[in-house]
Structure formats: structure tokens, C-alpha cells
């Protein structure tokens, strides 16, 4: 299904912290098509300042009691112009939303699912968790942040039945340090290859570490890469990720259409 462009209206803006907010808006046409891991390109103005859209994972697809999709939300972290504007929006404000875009996560061929999130990298995992739980895949979320205050939506995942393994850099909640440490601990406990499917989203060094750990322990991994995106549709070639191809050559692949989800084993990490 081709993506659609919706001039949506903000329904709510819940500020989680000084930097994070969850913005819910009326783009059911987009939500109804979205698969976990896909993204949208959004814009808060119809002027050329700022001009380009910005990419965001679809965080939640919100349904009414009858199961009809009513809205979607994004988990926004302030980083610059548009993310600041998204933090400041209020109910009733317009937001232009194009999507869904990109390749989604692939469900595990067998075994458990392990999701690994760093910071705002949590975004694609709410929908992925729902999808996995719906088909009874035992699911764990390894979730790291700087401090315990920046671990969001724990209750949401808990309620779904997702096992939570938390870590923080300051040790305020969970294990102190990087999220890759508890991940490795768990990997060590596995009895052999291809027992879990690993899904990761977060800062690139984390993704590289997760992909390498996964390879080391013989588990498949999928990583959601973050690149500056001009169009989200394969038009501009701004968003490339170096991928090692079957012929052994490394080539730049457009992450908006060849990703953002990549097999962690083929990305040529820098």
C-alpha cells in the first residue's frame, strides 16, 4: 500500500520530561497501514521555515473500543528546530504526516523476541511489542537510558506481558551502565544459535554493539538506523547506510526504502 499524506490535528501533547513528549494526532489513515518499525515524515508548518519534513517512528496506533484506528502518536525528543516545535504543539494544532514509510521489522522465525532500546529508541517497540504479544511470542525489552526518570512507558510494556530488563547510566534504576551489558549477560545464557530474534533501536554505537553481540552469539538481529532524511521515499539519496552485499561489496543503501530496519549482520559499521 502506498503511503498517504494527512493534514492531521493534534489531539494531545503529553510532556514526559523537559525533553520528551508524546504527541497524539488524528492520522488514522496512516495508523491503519502501519507495521511495527515503519516511520512517518512530519512537518508542523506549511511554510518553508523549517522546510523539510522530519522522520519519526510511529509510537502508538490508537484504536477506539471497536478496534477502529483513531490516531497515532510519536515519541518525540527535542534535538533541534522541528522537534522543539513538536514539543510545543497543543491540541488543535495542525501537523502534516506522510506515511507509513520504510521497511518494518520482520517477526521472529522462531523463538523469543528481544527488543533493545536506547533512549528515544524506544519509539518503534510499543507497536512491535503489541504485534508480538498478539501472536504469543515471548518478548523481552532491554531498555537503557541515562537516568531512571528517562525510562518511559514501563507500565505499558509490563501490562502487555513484556519482560523488562532495565539499565541506566547513573544506576538509578536497573543495572548501572549500558543496555548492552544485561543483553550480553542474557546472550551468554542461551544454549545455542538462532534461539532469539534481536531488534534494536537507539544511538548508532549501541546498534553496532548490539549487532556485533548478536553475531558473536549467533542470533539474528534487526537494527533501526537513524539518518538525516530529506524525503523518506527514495527520492533524494540523503539517508544512506553502508551495507555489505552478497557480492562482498559495500554499497550505500537508502535507509528510507531499504530500511530503516536492516539486518544487523549486513550493515558495514564504521
Amino acid at each position: 500500500m502506498p503511503p498517504v499524506d494527512v493534514r492531521a490535528t493534534v489531539i494531545s501533547n503529553v510532556r514526559l520530561s523537559h525533553d520528551y513528549n508524546v504527541l497524539t494526532f488524528s492520522a488514522p489513515e496512516v495508523g491503519a497501514l502501519t507495521e511495527p518499525g515503519q516511520f512517518v515524515m512530519v512537518k508542523t508548518t506549511d511554510t518553508s521555515e523549517p522546510m523539510l519534513r522530519r522522520p519519526f517512528s510511529v509510537f502508538e496506533v490508537l484504536r477506539d473500543d471497536l478496534g477502529t484506528v483513531r490516531a497515532i502518536s510519536i515519541l518525540n525528543k527535542r534535538a533541534g528546530r522541528t522537534t522543539n516545535l513538536l514539543y510545543g504543539l497543543g491540541a488543535g494544532d495542525p501537523i502534516w504526516c506522510l506515511g507509513p514509510l520504510g521497511l518494518p521489522f520482520n517477526p521472529p522465525e522462531s523463538g523469543d523476541a528481544w527488543m533493545v532500546a536506547g533512549g528515544v529508541g524506544l519509539a518503534p517497540f510499543a507497536t512491535l511489542a503489541e504485534a508480538l504479544v498478539a501472536v504469543n511470542v515471548p518478548t523481552t525489552l532491554f531498555y537503557g537510558a541515562r537516568t531512571g526518570e528517562e525510562l518511559y512507558y514501563l507500565e505499558f510494556f509490563d501490562r502487555l506481558g513484556v519482560k523488562l530488563v532495565l539499565s541506566t547510566e547513573d544506576g538509578s534504576i536497573g543495572e548501572k551502565g549500558r543496555v548492552t551489558a544485561p543483553l550480553e549477560t542474557s546472550l551468554k545464557e542461551l544454549s545455542g544459535p538462532n534461539q532469539v530474534s534481536i531488534y534494536a533501536c537507539g544511538p548508532e554505537p549501541m546498534l553496532a554493539a548490539v549487532a556485533k553481540l548478536a553475531m558473536q552469539y549467533g542470533q539474528p538481529s534487526e537494527v533501526s538506523m537513524e539518518r538525516t532524511m530529506g524525503c523518506g521515499l527514495g527520492g533524494c539519496y540523503s539517508c544512506v547506510v553502508p551495507v555489505t552485499h552478497a557480492d562482498g561489496q559495500t554499497r550505500y543503501v537508502r535507509s528510507c526504502i531499504g530500511g530503516p530496519v536492516f539486518d544487523g549482520a549486513v550493515v558495514a559499521w564504521e
Binding site: S48, L52, T228, G230, V240
Partner: protein, 313 residues
Amino acid sequence: MTTMDLSVKIGTLEMPNPLIAASGCFGYGLEYADLVDLSTLGGVASKGLFLAERQGHKPERIVETPSGMLNAIGLQGIGVHRFVAEKLPELRARKARNIVNICGTTLDEYVEVARVLSDAEGVDAIEINISCPNIKEGGIQFGCSLDGTFNVVSAVRKVTRLPIIPKLTPNVTSPASFARAAEDAGADAISLVNTFLAMAIDVEQRKPKLSNVVGGLSGPAIRPIAIRMVWECRQEVKIPIIGMGGIMDWRDVIEFMLAGANAVQVGTANFVDPFIWPKLLDGIESYMQRHGITRLADIVGAVDTASPAKAHA
């Protein structure tokens, strides 16, 4: 009312309307085939093609600037042979009019790429990119010299009967003199502008924002300069002009045409709104209706410079 004629003819290339997707801003066209019926566009200018595959520059490749963006993609591309084999058949099936944008690091490469395309089925015109500001080796050294421009165009002219459309750089003192060189060399049309060579610096990191240091500025920021250049070229040459630079809505299309463009390309706006194409057409048709214009070609170059507009009309 009578039917409206929006058609444009450039040599053997006949387009139902003047709206062309700009090179490098529309992939190879197929990326957008599910969003817009390619046959409804005047034409599709492909991403620039060398003879061989190219990887392009490292990211960061784009950066947003006030009402514009810089790009330094570095002409990543699949090369002309894979294009002919993998893209052209489906483009033909979808009835796109294919204006294939070609690059070269040498004159011979331009000629060779043009030859390959001339032998292929489904190429409607060749746009000769002698104006990419983002790569050192190719193009711009031809595009910034009158002789270079003349030589490339003449050489390509000799190997193809397809309409050839050199794409001019705005980074010169007088684009009109380059338009003249192109016309003299046998071009069927010219297209302008390519992007403006520009730069942005991250002041906290004290480094260029683009990996290539400099890049090309596109988007509405440049439109007033592009309009001026099209207008100047219109005084200089008789061949059709394909105008571009910052078109965001139908008004901008009409502005380029009044300045002297016979057709236009839309690049950056397509990133902001990939569904822009039917909106542009609708806007143009309403304008024609409102102004009683039946043949859109009649407004080409029709800006009345003898008497300026009233601000408080």
C-alpha cells in the same frame, strides 16, 4: 469553455504539460510510481548517470538552510547500463517521458553515456548535467567554461538524434552567455538552474555540516535568482528553456513561465510534498481559466517589464 492546451514540445519530445520532476529529486522515477501516475507528468528527469556505478559522498549529504537545503550527494548512481536494463523497461511500461540526466568526468564519458542511451528504447531526451557543484572531477569544469559547454554539447549532438538539453549552472557571471554557447552548439533546449555552490558550518563543532564541505543550494531561497537568470536567458536564446529553482506551488510555475521558461522542473518541493503534482496542475488550470488563457505556451516570456506591478492594486 474551450479545452486548455498545456503542451510543450522540445524537439521530438512532446509533453502534455510543462511539469517535469527534477533530476536527483525523484530517484529514477519508479520510487514515486505508486504515489503519482508518471504518465501524467510532462516528464521525469532521472538522477544523474555516469557510465559506471558510483557510491557518492559519505553522509551527511544534506542540510536544511533558511527556505532551502544544501545537498552533496556526490551523484550516487547505478550507471547508465544498469539504468537501461533495470529501470527503463518499467518506466516505459508506466508511460513516463524519460529525460535522462547524464554526467561525465571527461568529454568522452558524456559521449559514451549519450550513445548508450540513444541506442536504448524509451529515452525521450537527454539532459546534459554540466553543472553539478558537488563533485570535483566532473561536469562543472565544462559548465563554468563557455568552450567546455560548447564542446560537450557539440560532441553529444554528434552521437544522438534525441533532444539534448544541457543543464546550466547558476554559479557564473552570465548564465545567458552559456545559454548562447549551448544554443550555438546545437542544443534543443536548456535547463536551468542547477544548485548554487554553498556551505554551512556547525558552529559548536566548528566543522562543515556536509561531509563534502560544500554543497548545492536548492529550494525557494534561490527562486528569485533563478527567475532572473531564466529571464536573462530568454532575451539571449530562442530554444526552449526549462526553468527551475524553488518551485513550491503553481504560482511559481507561472512565474518561471512568464520569465521565459517553456517548461519547469520541480525538485526540492517534491520532498516536502510528494503529492504536489496534481496540485500544481490544478493551480495552473485555474489560473488559465481565470485569465482566459487557452494555450499555456502563450504566457512564455510574457512578463511586461515596461510597467511594473502595483503593490496596492
